[in-house]
Symmetry: C2
Subunit: 353 residues, 2 copies
């Protein structure tokens, strides 16, 4: 059967309108290329299904042509999107991606204990993996370059967002709308796995402390089910919060679900903010912190290529987030949750109605 013609570096250069040496620099992750040019080259390489011919090229110095992506779970929204960015980016430099699920420290230990991994891959990307010292030590025991994605570890190569700053901003947004009783919903599963960066809850606590208000951190199960249960419990508390900041959109969706079931007006009686900006956030009209998840995966792939090309480990990249304002958060009505026409102004010191 006819095998499709393989694209060459010169084809990519022509399509991107740059020199072959620029293509080479981009694909090996070298610095000093303008972001727009880099994006054009990567797009051209992807469109041409260009893969660096491993044996004929010194672009990637790894021995196996494979990278291990270790994820705690594959099913949540975040991982599919990040993995997509990573897999596609690594393909542009001729690297394949092996995917492993190892959520808990114990699973990670068992996984790393299997010697074959050391012969199987050139580098490891740890996607949203708990950066506890034991796990980091185990990963490094492999003797391979490691890139942390969506988590920061001091002195290690990583790409993440400013979880702390973004969470503080979102909390301040609620405070500035006039909310005082703002609960933070965070997820843990049975294994103790933390479903989002600890920096996120720290940012919330920072902002609450600066405002002189009492924080309320509620720990619940993962996903929308966790958000549902935590919010149901909060509706039975006294006093009820007027705003919920969920560590992820999944958790926020669960909160919105139970609020709708209970006919608690959103944002009239309860404001809700999420974190992620997944597709469903728009459908649910959820105000949320948007993080560039595909780009997190892509940048992790770029860092892997750079490390394999000889870059020293330890570079830390931070991608920007932004607050996407929709209709799930507004100034609180009154504090008894009865929908009245009285409302507090957008100010930290609510006046008496």
């Amino acid at each position: 059967m006819p095998v499709p013609k393989h694209s060459r570096m010169s084809d990519v250069a022509r399509r991107a309108g740059v020199s072959a040496s620029t293509v080479s620099r981009v694909l090996r992750g070298a610095p000093g290329v303008a972001p727009a040019v880099r994006a054009r080259v990567e797009r051209a390489a992807a469109e041409l299904s260009y893969a660096v011919a491993r044996d004929a090229s010194s672009l990637v110095t790894g021995a196996t042509g494979r990278v291990a992506a270790i994820v705690p779970f594959l099913h949540p929204w975040f991982f599919g999107v990040a993995l997509s960015g990573l897999v596609r980016r690594l393909r542009t430099v001729g690297l394949d991606t092996l995917v492993y699920e190892a959520g808990t420290t114990g699973e990670l230990a068992g996984f790393i204990g299997e010697l074959p991994l050391r012969r199987n891959v050139d580098a490891v990307v740890a996607l949203a993996l708990s950066p506890d010292p034991e796990s980091v030590r185990r990963l490094e025991s492999l003797g391979l370059p490691v890139v942390f994605c969506s988590r920061t570890v001091p002195g290690r190569s990583s790409v993440c967002v400013d979880d702390r700053g973004a969470a503080a901003d979102a909390t301040r947004y609620l405070l500035n709308l006039g909310h005082v009783r703002i609960a933070y919903l965070q997820s843990r599963d049975d294994t103790g796995f933390s479903w989002s960066s600890q920096d996120r809850v720290s940012g919330y606590l920072d902002a609450m402390e600066r405002a002189g208000t009492h924080p309320q951190v509620v720990t619940t199960g993962p996903g929308s089910g966790g958000g549902w249960r935590a919010t149901a419990e909060l509706l039975a508390s006294d006093p009820v919060p007027t705003a919920l900041f969920a560590e992820s959109d999944d958790v926020a969706m669960g909160a919105l679900g139970v609020l709708r079931r209970c006919r608690v007006p959103v944002p009239g009686a309860m404001s809700v903010i999420g974190f992620d900006n997944q597709d469903m956030a728009e459908v649910m009209d959820l105000t949320t912190v948007a993080q560039p998840v595909t780009e997190l995966g892509e940048e992790a792939g770029r860092m892997v290529a750079a490390l394999l090309a000889g870059e020293e480990a330890g570079r830390q990249v931070r991608l920007a987030t932004r607050l996407v304002v929709r209709h799930s958060a507004a100034a609180p009505l009154d504090t008894t949750h009865r929908p009245t026409r009285t409302h507090q102004p957008i100010a930290k010191e609510p006046h008496e109605p």
Copy 2:
């Protein structure tokens, strides 16, 4: 540093309370083992992070110890869940999973054209990949065992649900509630990629034809955005359907979103049914067809192991679906979409109010 002790087959046998030969039979996918025993062995193997030592074992006859999972996209819910089942199942027989995104026939061609794949993997799992003859031919040109997951191809090894039967059942459910104008929402993206099995729309058409009612198939973009746009357009049509059957929960969520935005009561003025039963379906109180997605991935992994152990290709496995009745679908009120107290009985021939 201390490397954790490797588990042996005898450890797995002891933990599962079976003989080592039973462990061997289960892990190489041999038939004749009771499902409960098989599950116990697989659980024990997973708990012990047991991996077949490739060089010391004839359990898996492949040369590389790797399987390629080809997915059209990684970000939708379905793929993370199916991949999770596949990756975990393959690990129990010591196989690693390489993940590739190749959604379109063109991408698949480029991908398969890259010779390295032939040396890189022992088998291929095509996850929800279009089974058009050209793609099938290209996959088979690799000369490797191929398992189709969530799609059926005549004569090829596959695992799927009965999309046609399940869709016909869901359609009949709406017909039996008294709906006549039932629109089916299906997704296509720019590349022409079909986001669900063509058997699904066929099942809808079957049921509508048998009931003597006119079908209305609306083709839209993928995901919740597609569902949103299609439903918005339907609200401007005349006559408006009284029920929507969305090919996936994602599409159904978009429909629910726009209906809520437009204050169209669900199920009062519009019933909605989805397909998948993802987590959000419960939150959104969506009536939907539940398919066992993790199990689809697991079964695909089991079939790969069996093929590598010498089983002849061509076995087709069908997993069961079930209709999960929630509150997004009910008997239609009247045909003008005004919420009145008049309602039609649960019957195909509505009587006059």
